[in-house]
Every structure is written in structure tokens, then in C-alpha cells.
């Protein structure tokens, strides 16, 4: 009985996680602007990998002997590192745009 409930839960978590990863990547491929495109992969990171990690923690806890917690390592590192990398990327793009802007041409007759 308990094993069946765990199986249903693991299956649902797997489907939800991969669905979120697919939707995030679809957003990355489909949206029109760079700043809009940043929005999609955040879902793939948080919900996609998070659901897959919870599913695998449940799976190895129920079907292997012993509590399996070393998925928490991957989740903690990923949730810490994803905002930092996006921040660095946005900083790079903002600097490029700032460098690309030219000063308005001076008017010699003014």
C-alpha cells in the first residue's frame, strides 16, 4: 500500500519535473527578447530539477534500504548557483548595451 502511494508520487513528480523543464526550454527557444528569455530557464532549474531530485530521493528511500539525502547536495548547490550565473550574464549584457550606445552627434551650428 505504502509502496503504491510512493510509486504514484514518484511518477507524478517525474512528469511534473520534465514538463517544467520542457516548458522552460520552450520559453527559451520561443520568446523574443533576451530579458524575456531569462524567464524560462529559471522554471527549468527550480521546478524541473527540484521535482526530479525529490522524486529520486523518494525512490531511493523507499526502494533501496536507508534514507537517501545526498540529492539535497545537488539541490542546494543548484539553487545557490543559478541566480549568481544569471546575475553575471545580465551584468555582461547591460555593459555591452551601455558600450554600444553612442553619444548623440554634436551640432556644429548650435
Amino acid at each position: 500500500m505504502l509502496v503504491t502511494i510512493a510509486e504514484v508520487l514518484i511518477a507524478a513528480l517525474l512528469l511534473v519535473g520534465s514538463g517544467f523543464a520542457l516548458v522552460g526550454s520552450y520559453g527559451l527557444a520561443k520568446l523574443g527578447d533576451f530579458y524575456l528569455r531569462l524567464h524560462g530557464p529559471a522554471k527549468a532549474t527550480t521546478m524541473g530539477v527540484g521535482s526530479a531530485l525529490v522524486a529520486s530521493s523518494l525512490y531511493f528511500t523507499v526502494f533501496d534500504e536507508g534514507i537517501s539525502v545526498h540529492e539535497v547536495l545537488v539541490a542546494a548547490f543548484l539553487f545557490m548557483s543559478a541566480p549568481v550565473s544569471v546575475h553575471m550574464l545580465v551584468k555582461a549584457v547591460l555593459k555591452n548595451e551601455h558600450d554600444r550606445k553612442r553619444m548623440p552627434p554634436s551640432r556644429p551650428d548650435a
Binding site: E7, V8, I10, A11, L14, L15, G17, S18, G19, A21, L22, G24, S25, Y26, L28, A29, F34, R37, L38, G40, P41, A44, T45, G48, V49, A52, L53, A55, S56, Y59, F60, F63, D64, S68, H70, E71, L73, V74, F77, L78, S81, A82, V84, S85, M88, L89, K91, A92, V93, K95, N96
Partner: protein
């Protein structure tokens, strides 16, 4: 039931990786390509975790952890290169 669901999940993740590849190939800017690489390694990490469930093997976590760390370092280094034109200064 878990095996069938894991197969479906692997198929969806493969589709997601194809979409990332499309953005990687036609991204108009370098930053778009870096973002596509970032999403690609995250999808690869999720694929490895689901594969670990599918094959009932817990060795895949170490691989997933290493891919996560190296992918983060790669994204930060590429952004740093975009900002400075140099990696270490």
C-alpha cells in the same frame, strides 16, 4: 509504472534539450548562446537524475553534482569574459 513514466520523462527532457540546441544555434547574441548552454547543462543534469531512477543506480548523482559545478563555473567564466574581455585580471 515508474519505468514507463521515467521513459516519458526522458523523452520530454530530450525534447527540451533539442529546443535549447535550437536557441544555441540561432541565438542572435553571444549572451543568448551562453544562456542556452546554461539551460542545456541543467537539462542534462535532470536527465542524469531521471536516468538514475530508471536504471536503479545511485552512481549518477556524483555525475550530476560534477556537471552542476562545472556548468556553473563555465557560465560565470563566459560572462566574465564578456564583461572584461579577459577571464583573470
Amino acid at each position: 509504472m515508474i519505468e514507463i513514466t521515467a521513459n516519458i520523462a526522458l523523452t520530454l527532457l530530450a525534447l527540451a534539450m533539442v529546443l535549447c540546441l535550437i536557441r544555441l544555434l540561432r541565438g542572435p547574441d553571444i549572451a543568448d548562446r551562453i544562456l542556452a548552454l546554461d539551460t542545456l547543462y541543467i537539462n542534462a543534469l535532470a536527465t542524469l537524475i531521471v536516468l538514475g531512477i530508471r536504471l536503479q543506480n545511485s552512481v549518477f548523482f556524483e555525475t550530476a553534482l560534477i556537471i552542476g559545478m562545472l556548468g556553473f563555473v563555465g557560465t560565470v567564466v563566459l560572462s566574465k569574459y564578456l564583461i572584461r574581455g579577459d577571464i583573470i585580471d
